[in-house]
């Protein structure tokens, strides 16, 4: 005969009182039970630990992406500035076509400034590039932007949701303009 049966079948103890004592005893056993404590402790710390680990990865990826964008923007601006590249994705730079906004893709031609702005960028994000030539100065500006959430690779906690990474380089245009 187990404990529950003992309580249940004693004629002098009210039924509800028996159940309360049994429940209380089970809780007491659970509190003092030492089995599976490692699993419980692991479950308690794994969430903040994951937040930290994914946070490190995300932040590192963002800075890597940001620096890559800055380098690429400068490189493309330098090529346009020195006259080595005179085209943008919408055609040749000219007084009537001084700016182009396009998304980095494999369809860009190597004669386009954006082709170089989109080179050596991380593969895990999508980039938009704006090339602007201002013949009044004259100057050339290449601006790259990307979603910070995408740049973070793993943004499961949505820390960077809605944020945008922007890298921009402006150089004096040498030679003739356009």
């Amino acid at each position: 005969m187990n404990e529950a049966q003992k309580f249940t079948h004693h004629p002098l103890v009210p039924l509800q009182g028996m159940r309360a004592v049994a429940t209380w005893r089970r809780c007491r056993d659970l509190v003092h039970c030492r089995r599976s404590t490692a699993a419980i402790e692991f479950a308690m710390i794994v969430t903040p630990l994951l937040v930290l680990i994914f946070g490190f990865i995300s932040v590192s990826a963002i800075f890597y992406t940001w620096s890559s964008m800055q380098n690429a923007a400068q490189y493309a601006a330098m090529l346009v500035s020195t006259g080595q590249v005179k085209d943008v994705s919408t055609g040749a730079l000219s007084p009537s076509n001084t700016s182009a906004t396009t998304r980095c893709s494999s369809t860009l031609s190597s004669s386009d400034a954006e082709y170089y702005a989109c080179s050596n960028l991380p593969s895990w994000a999508t980039f938009t590039v704006i090339t602007t030539e201002n013949c009044a100065v004259p100057s050339v500006e290449v601006s790259l932007s990307a979603s910070a959430s995408a740049a973070a690779i793993i943004d499961i906690f949505k820390f960077f949701s809605g944020e945008t990474l922007t890298a921009q380089a402006t150089l004096m245009k040498e030679g003739s303009c356009p």
Partner: protein, 433 residues
Amino acid sequence: MPVIPTPRALIGLLRADATDRRPAAGCRTPTACASRGAARQRLLCDRRAAIAVLIALSFPFLIALGVLAANVGYLYYRQLLLRQTVTAAALAGASNLTTYYSSGNNSTATVVAQAQAFATANEPTATYGTVVPAADVVLGTWSNGTFTSLAASGSTTPNSVQVTGLNTTANGNAVSILLGSLVGVPTANMTSTATASFATGQNFDTIVINDLSQSFKSEISEQQSADKSILNCVTANAAPTSLFGITAIDGHSTVMLALAQANPVLTLIESLIGGLNYCGTLGMPQCSGSNIAAGVYSAIQQFSTVSGLNATKNIIIITDGVPNADPITYTTADGIYPTPTSTTPTCTSSCTDADMLVMAQNQAADAYAAGINVSTIYYSGDTPASEQSSYAASLATLRKGVGVSLVAPTPAQITTVLGGFCSTMASALKLVN
């Protein structure tokens, strides 16, 4: 007989559980620990929740490590940005170094203003503060790998501009460090210096290719005008030792003026340009189509025999349309081979207009591979309006290096664009440090 638990029995059970501890290292028995009576000792001996304590102690270190990594990444990015900013500022300042001389009073105002403008364009003041103060744009001389400011040397002939960018506490724009104030390092100081040199009057060797095909008959004066603009550009801006040559094309090429220093024979060259006429006229080649490839091939051969040190080599093609073939036989000198080492010609006879364009493109690519810039000037007056854009696009494919591609330039455009092109080509803007 059923057992009825009494309250006293229940309390006894709890006490038994509460004192069921394993002894920690250094503690003989639970009783021994308890017998010391000191609360501190009990705490040390208690092994319960050890993991929680461990985590509580290690998490701040983990977080600190993450913050450190983030700071390193951010500081690297800011250093990169600062370097690019001073580079842009130095190049902009050096590009305007001529204003120091043209100002009449050795004014550095334009140089400083341009350098600061480009520094601000890259690192806006609202976000980054004044990264390049006016005092940190310094004019000086760059010689043998050393920059000497005008103030230090007393010189009045600067050839370079040195720009120093500041992200420092003293400049009021030090870089913030995330949670740095917790360890007493709230900001980091950064500086970066770039030097750009600018020199004019470099060698600018040029071969002008004049299309003398019959179709250019009505626009020959514009061709002469363009030739003179280029010649003036070379003699006015480039080094006196710069070379100038004229090669005419129809189906084949004819060297009208072999590469020679322009200045000593300026009058002779101007006279030659004034005498240019379309094919078939007195002293001009016979008409046989229009083969740009032949002219470019000839120019490459002429340049290959010249060993001008640090000279910019340029081919400027002046034409009134895309190449067109005549029923003649083309040879090596007509640029039929795609590359200098190729043994398979694009065509030799029965060539089409498309073949001629391919040949021209191949020769332009060969020229670029040989370090020669290729420019095109297209006079579209005689081209049907419906074909002008496609002709312009085809000719633009011949532009190589830092050459320009002009379409129907007005005399004013020739002066400004070609003049600007030539003065830039004949100058040397370099990031030296």
